[in-house]
Amino acid sequence: MKSALILFPGINREHDMARALQRAGGMAPTIVWHKDTELPPVDLVVIPGGFSYGDYLRCGAIAARSPIMRDVIAKAEAGVTVLGVCNGFQVLTEMGLLPGALMRNADLRFVCKDVLLRVETTDTRFTNRYRKGQTIRTPVAHGDGNYFADPETLARLEGEGRVVFRYASADGDIDETSNPNGSIDNIAGILNARGNVLGMMPHPEDHIELAQGSTDGLGIFESMVAALETA
């Protein structure tokens, strides 16, 4: 799987993401500098986590307007797979590639811990290796992960099966105590209408080996590889 990893100043989980891409996809990603204007030909574009531009102005707002982003939009419109994790998710919403917004965590504190996600749909290029309704363990590490969208947008997301992950209990219940940041309807990850762009707050790239506490995150990367092989 050929991938490009976009590097903005302040991004800091590029190492973790590159390791996961290497492990699951067998190839190191091409690192693309934010001031570049053209992506190499790739199967996947990744915007990793971190604090692009120090989260100044608004998380992801400045990165969304970087020179490279024009080509990211073009690639997304052409159907290339795009994954945004954490700050990457924030950037994707700021670019308008995904609807809604990520607000300050409801308790106003940064949160880093393992959470459980319920896989809401396996009919995507990101989740075909999971079982529907399965709960997977991944860490979150963010201060602004509180997903919000207006009722109309939410209805569309739900109706079109675009809510991919929800924060859940071990039994798969969607409840308040499982929600680390106040996200509406416990939403942790969503797709664009076409199904080729995924944004999610948790970090699957940090749960790819048992030494890290779980390998549940690997499924997302393996799903993308599998989708590519069958495409």
Binding site: P9, G10, G50, F51, G54, F110, C112, A141, A211
Partner: protein, 745 residues
């Protein structure tokens, strides 16, 4: 605003710069004339306690700092220790106490920033951070605000920078009411053939300024940190720096990228006393003079004077000496990362430190003497009075052992720190093998198999009672915590926090602690490779508890073989390694249950410590034990409770002490002890080997069930333990614990 350079130097002005009359006389003798205003500022920056170690130097020299593993001991930005495979761990701990009390968020944030810079200045990429925090009485009106601000500041900086914050320690005690302690630790990995130092070489080489612009923040920060607080602490807010982790992250990447080229001769970060200290150090260490033209320094504000620029402690700045002709290579890297880059001076052969502004010489001082001739004091000291021993049978027993245990695991000092470490990104970089909450954090070195273990420890109440034993105990506890995860202890960094050294009893604490630390380091072959001293932690005459915090670093040949504290399976045998005598003096039981803070601390027998630890470490490396935990605060029963909570498995204890009161047996804080578990089949062999090695070991019971069952006591359920342990800190921070209802007196 413009401050002339020729304003008259009055005794008041000298005093305002924290210089004593005899110290000023020393300046006059040294330069043979009255200093200019800028020069006075430079002397105050170089000669304050924080930068010159003038009260502690003669004692610090007695600490062991060498060993076959040590590549660089104290005196550089951080210590460097060989871990094999061509790699080194680079680490240091530093205090940011005074600023954090005045402005907790920025004080703590810039403390983290400073220590990270110390590590990457040497060419190492930071892989782990920790912090040792000490706050006042929870009932004190400022405590909650300070905890909240400090934790947010540490997280705010470290999370954004992108280093996992993997551990630390927190205490509450009224003696920190007016002086909290924020000690930040960082460690990084460097290649042993790519370590960078501060010493400049070559005459006429460019001195370049890198990073953020210089502003008026933090002027006299180091001088402020070298004085006691009075009632006017709030007024010192302008001396606190403001951190920008985003710039620091860029600075990290730019420095490491430039270090991959051959452009860098020497590098020094601008920390305490900013441009002054960094430039003087680079020149003095390289036996060279330095000439700076401040007109080229990138400034945040117009009209900054030489005095302000030399004393600013604006953050995220570096100074480098470049190889001739490499300026363009360096400029390209820094411009790529949108950072300022300016050639602001050059090295000279006259051993002078010359500072120019608008073409005028503002300072012209002998560079070596600025550091070397700083005053050094042999301050009078008196040893601490030995405390009368505490007879365990005279310490009241609790109504029930279980009640005392629940109170202890739910007390401010012993409760879970989850509320804190969940605000720190402890997983970034994907190498955190053991997360916060265990004996030591374990971080994998790149893709393994090696791992590094990190821990911070000191027990201030022990140091207060007996600085020598307390110093020994602090070293021993770090050594034990590293051992308990299976690591071989490599070396230490220290952060010595004390009150006013001009008081002989405080100086006695410092001297005693250093003696104890030195003794333990020698016995355990465990040198100190970096550190810092923070004195004058006093407000209105009341000093903090003596707090010589130590940061231990250990090496695991295979991270997969590390041990952790949680019980792993039902039906395993629980053993205690080490001897239990029921030492209650200065224990948390004595303080929190019996309401007394007296007695001597538990004695530390370093030979026993070494023997027991080596025994346990060997068991771990052979994979013969499933869970390991050291016994420290709260003794044996608290250790058992923590192992239960971490593993989600209860325990049935069969043995009861017959020659000791139960509360002394369970809560005594005897040293050199570990609790281990293993399958029943291996117990006999282990006990036989322990006998042969002269290590005390005894079976306590077995794991299983959902409660802690002690002979003759009601079961203590895991759920109850957990809710006590996890409850206090979130409740306190949410204001659900009424102020005044909790004290640690």
């Amino acid at each position: 605003m413009s401050i002339p350079n020729d304003i008259p130097i009055t005794p008041d002005l000298v005093a305002d710069h924290g210089l004593k009359p005899d110290e000023y006389q020393r300046i006059l003798d040294l330069i043979g004339r009255e200093p200019t205003f800028t020069e006075l500022g430079i002397f105050s920056a170089m000669w304050n306690e924080h930068c010159s170690y003038k009260s502690s130097k003669r004692w610090l020299k007695t600490l062991p700092t060498e060993g076959p593993q040590v590549i660089q001991g104290p005196g550089e930005n951080a210590g460097v220790v060989d871990i094999g495979d061509g790699l080194a761990v680079v680490f240091k701990m530093e205090s940011h106490n005074h600023p954090s009390f005045i402005e907790p968020y920025q004080g703590a944030a810039t403390g983290v920033g400073g220590i990270l810079r110390d590590v990457f200045t040497m060419g190492a990429r930071p892989i782990a951070a920790m912090n040792a925090l000490r706050f006042g009485d929870p009932a004190h009106q400022k405590t909650r605000h300070l905890v909240s601000g400090v934790v947010a500041g540490i997280g705010g900086y470290g999370n954004s920078f992108g280093v996992p914050t993997v551990g630390g320690e927190v205490n509450f005690h009224r003696r920190y009411n007016g002086n909290i302690l924020v000690n930040a630790f960082a460690a990084g990995i460097a290649r042993t053939d790519q370590i960078f130092y501060a010493a400049a070489t070559g005459v006429g080489n460019s001195i370049v300024y890198l990073g953020s612009k210089t502003g008026r923040d933090g002027i006299h920060g180091a001088t402020m940190a070298s004085a006691e607080f009075g009632e006017d602490a709030e007024e010192k807010r302008p001396t606190v720096q403001v951190g920008d982790p985003f710039s620091e992250k860029l600075l990290l990447e730019a420095c490491l990228e430039l270090m991959q080229t051959d452009a860098v001769i020497a590098i020094q970060d601008m920390g305490a006393a900013g441009l002054t200290c960094s430039a003087v150090e680079m020149g003095a260490k390289g036996d060279l003079g330095v000439e700076l033209d401040l007109d080229h320094v990138p400034c945040r504000e117009d009209g900054m004077t030489a005095y302000e620029m030399m004393l600013s402690e604006s953050q995220e700045r570096m100074l480098m000496v470049l190889r001739p002709g490499k300026e363009d290579v360096a400029r390209a890297v820094f411009e790529k990362w949108d950072l300022d880059f300016a050639v602001i001076g050059r090295t000279t052969d006259d051993l002078r430190f010359v500072v120019k502004r608008h073409g005028e010489v503002m300072a012209d001082l002998p560079i070596k003497e600025l550091g070397d001739e700083a005053p050094e004091y042999d301050r009078p000291w008196i040893p601490a009075e030995p405390a009368a021993p505490v007879d365990p049978s005279e310490v009241p027993a609790p109504n029930a052992i279980g009640d005392a245990l629940l109170r202890l695991v739910g007390s401010p000092d012993m409760c879970s720190r989850r509320w804190i470490w969940e605000q720190y990104d402890h997983l970034i970089l994907g190498n955190t093998i053991q997360r916060p909450g265990g004996d030591a954090a374990v971080v994998r070195v790149e893709d393994g198999p090696k791992g590094l273990a990190f821990t911070l420890d000191v027990t201030p109440r022990y140091c207060e009672a007996d600085p020598v034993e307390g110093g020994k105990q602090a070293v021993a506890e770090t050594w034990r915590n590293l051992t308990a995860v299976g690591a071989t202890p490599l070396a230490l960094t220290d952060c010595l926090n004390f009150g006013n050294p001009e008081r002989p009893e405080i100086m006695g604490q410092l001297v005693g602690a250093i003696q104890g630390i030195g003794e333990a380091c020698r016995a355990l072959e465990y040198p100190i490779v970096s550190g810092n001293v923070s004195l004058y932690n006093e407000t209105s005459g009341e000093a903090i508890l003596p707090t010589p915090a130590l940061g231990g670093v250990g090496l695991l040949e295979d991270f997969a073989l590390s041990a952790s504290i949680g019980f792993k399976a039902e039906g395993e045998t629980i053993l205690v390694i080490g001897e239990t005598t029921g030492h209650l003096g200065r224990s948390v039981y004595l303080r929190d249950i019996a309401g007394r803070e007296d007695g001597p601390p538990p004695p530390v027998d370093l030979e026993t410590e070494k023997r027991n630890g080596d025994f346990v470490r060997a068991l771990i490396s052979e994979g013969r034990v499933s869970a390991v935990h050291d016994c420290s605060d709260g003794g044996l029963l608290v250790a058992l409770a923590e192992m239960m909570m971490a593993g989600g498995i209860g325990a049935s204890i069969h043995t009861a002490p017959d020659d000791l009161p139960a509360h002394a047996y369970w809560f005594g804080e005897d040293q050199a002890r570990y609790v281990v578990t293993l399958a029943a089949g291996g117990v006999e062999r282990l006990l036989a080997e322990a006998r042969d090695s002269g290590v005390a070991a005894a079976a306590l019971g077995s794991t299983g069930g959902d409660a802690l069952k002690l002979p003759g006591e009601d079961p203590i359920y895991l759920d109850t333990l957990r809710s006590c342990h996890e409850g206090w800190l979130p409740d306190y921070m949410a204001g659900r614990i009424a102020t005044g209802s909790t004290t640690t007196d």
